[in-house]
Symmetry: C2
Subunit: 476 residues, 2 copies
Amino acid sequence: MIDQEIKKLKTHGRKDNLSPFFEPKSVAIVGSLSQTWFGGQALLKNLHNFGYSGGIYLVNPSYEEVQDVKVYPSIKDIPESIDLVIIITPARTVLSIVKDCVKKGVKCVIIGADGFTERDEEGKRLQNEITEIARHTRIRIIGPNTVGTVNTATGLVTAIYLIGYDKIKKGGIAFVAQTGIIGPQAMPYDDWRYGISKICDLGNKCDVDESDLLEYLADDPETKVIAMHLECIKSGHRFLDVAKRAAQKKPILILKPGKTKESAKALMSHTGSLAGDQKIYESAFKQVGVIQVNSFKELLEIPTAFLCQPLPRGNRLGIITFTGGAGIMAMDIAAESGLTLAKLSTETNEKLSNIHPTLVGNPSDLGPLYAISGESPYKTVIEAMLNDENVDCIFCVIVGGFLSANLYIQTLNDIEKPKDKPMTFWVYGPSSESNDQVCFELRNNGYPVYLDIETAVKALGAMYRYKTIKNWRRTI
Amino acid sequence: MIDQEIKKLKTHGRKDNLSPFFEPKSVAIVGSLSQTWFGGQALLKNLHNFGYSGGIYLVNPSYEEVQDVKVYPSIKDIPESIDLVIIITPARTVLSIVKDCVKKGVKCVIIGADGFTERDEEGKRLQNEITEIARHTRIRIIGPNTVGTVNTATGLVTAIYLIGYDKIKKGGIAFVAQTGIIGPQAMPYDDWRYGISKICDLGNKCDVDESDLLEYLADDPETKVIAMHLECIKSGHRFLDVAKRAAQKKPILILKPGKTKESAKALMSHTGSLAGDQKIYESAFKQVGVIQVNSFKELLEIPTAFLCQPLPRGNRLGIITFTGGAGIMAMDIAAESGLTLAKLSTETNEKLSNIHPTLVGNPSDLGPLYAISGESPYKTVIEAMLNDENVDCIFCVIVGGFLSANLYIQTLNDIEKPKDKPMTFWVYGPSSESNDQVCFELRNNGYPVYLDIETAVKALGAMYRYKTIKNWRRTI
């Protein structure tokens, strides 16, 4: 199967270094240069826009120069050493380019092209050959059928569609998925203001898989919380082993689609992989301390709470609302998420009563008082709850357009926040624009704000769950 | 309990006419005129902004004129007859005003004030007295503790907070809730472009309850779908009886909070009502053909699909995606929502194959083709699926900023749509603004577009469920 030439290059050294996928000193792009919205030209522009400062080399035998950048006929013709090659040529040409990469001493390869195991038998054969090369040499490969990686710290992006924005807020969330929708060309990361360290689409996983990536991210100092969408798991045993250790270092949220026979079968044609039994995964995830989420929305939205809020000591929820109805809905979701309603201390109720008797109790409803006096005691009520030893975490309802985003931020910043009491927020109000803006600004200032009640409360439930996972180590 | 004077007025005539709550020829507002953002002045402005053209009378003994409108010292001093009175005075004053209303021959009263059963024993006593009056006279009362009603057809609003926008798109959705967040002062209805007929916050339900309102809305020609948030049900037996008949006329979606002991207890202090047993409700709802939804988000977002799309004949789902990952997530949600994956006919697969072999199958994934050719075969693929007799409904993924909203609308309008195949859409993409705009424009043109996969697929599941409910009558 393996060329004699490749065989000579094969090594048995360490293969676990994934850093060139995220911090390459130089990048080569092999493939189409005919379009500006797609392919090499789009990728070149994306790299420039995101501020990648390493070397960029273009490879295509039909061009000599594009966007003032010299184009090389092949990988081998590039005079410098290359950390990362991104291949976006048709499937049938990929094998020989990968071989060139091995010969050139390239460290890592991202194969963007599709048409492999997910397509047909011929594609499967091609992918197997590529896998063989990865197995027998030091080269590491992500893909095929992937939009690749993002590293906000270095400005690296590998998406071959024009992204449409030029930065992602830096922070501690790593998103990993087995689908291109995780890429910056598909999701409005900058608008969301989450704070992201790294993004990776694993594609068909011919070499690098979820276990490799989880191991890498567990030790990545920029990453504080890991969110993974996994259609299949290549080696269940290894993954659970890696996950168990990683979960003690940072929270791991996983969305595992393929619950039904039909969707499991469809996985086969999506990334050419087997889904495995959901029930077995569910119970295994629980055992190793992985937190399962139930939707793509939750996978995207819950991590930001972990990033910017401390873990709670316990599961007793304080609810500060502006409408009784929302408070009761929150209680239902809280119960489903493993939280219970905090019983406020006498002292707290006295503090609330001193502002106004209608505020007493949990949920504490600010709405009636506002109607009476036109004053918002948000700060005092939040402080009273935060200082109550019977309260572990707080869900707080805020109204868009009622106070400006800046006033909310000022109010919240003024509050002395205990190191072990997370808060999440739901913003509602009569103007979508105002709600969005409050959400944007508060997130930008480190407060996890949501546009629905469910996700805001579920985020606190997930944080409490992670607290119990962290406690395992202590009790073992 | 009842004054002699009131007793004399008592009648035993029909009491079921709720239309003055939505189509009053004249409205009187009794209460505070001191603020512009809250109370009588705000309500006056809201009514003007929404285009209410009936008579408006202000009542407050401390003013002679406000905003160029004469102010009367009491209800009894108004020279004209009054259909609807909105009372926003403190709780302790409400009883005597209600008595004045009875004497004046007012048809309907909305009591906006809070501080009744939900507050304390004294409030409970006051509310009971008001209930007694409603029981013994022809007057109908909504509230207390309510933001009242909206009728988009007549421009009637009764919210006593300045709303911030001046219209709601007219359409067939009626929202009913036992919370003020349903009101236009709290939700961006106009931004959502849903198409709304009526909105009603039931408040403490001293007289008019969910059964009354459901009966009214079932016969309301403007209302095509009814969405209700019910913390408690006053007379379970009657409600189920009304719901059973109403469900054969139009779809009824219900959110029933209060699932836990704690939240059920909190209901008591919110609207002074008992939640009842969730399990019993769940099974009763199923029996009478009411569709239960699981979150406030679903209650708000699912009705629009009913409004603008036909019911499916069956539950076989066609998925048109732009990314394999989303297709598989959709399949999981479909299965949970009672849908199955359609097996496309040979003819359809041939049509898809003629465009490009990668399109064949369900989900049909347009992404790879777009990467190859830069062309979007949305129209052809949607048409092929719509014409497939094995397909009952379609979930279609669209990309914001990829085609403009107008191009999507043109493409979709050009398609001949069978009368029994609903479509829902998920829009995603790298720009929130573009996604929001596509969502806004497509909804405005009658296509149910969602910003998350879950709700889009669940909406189709709910429509199939309603189809089976409609079939009951035929099979009985």
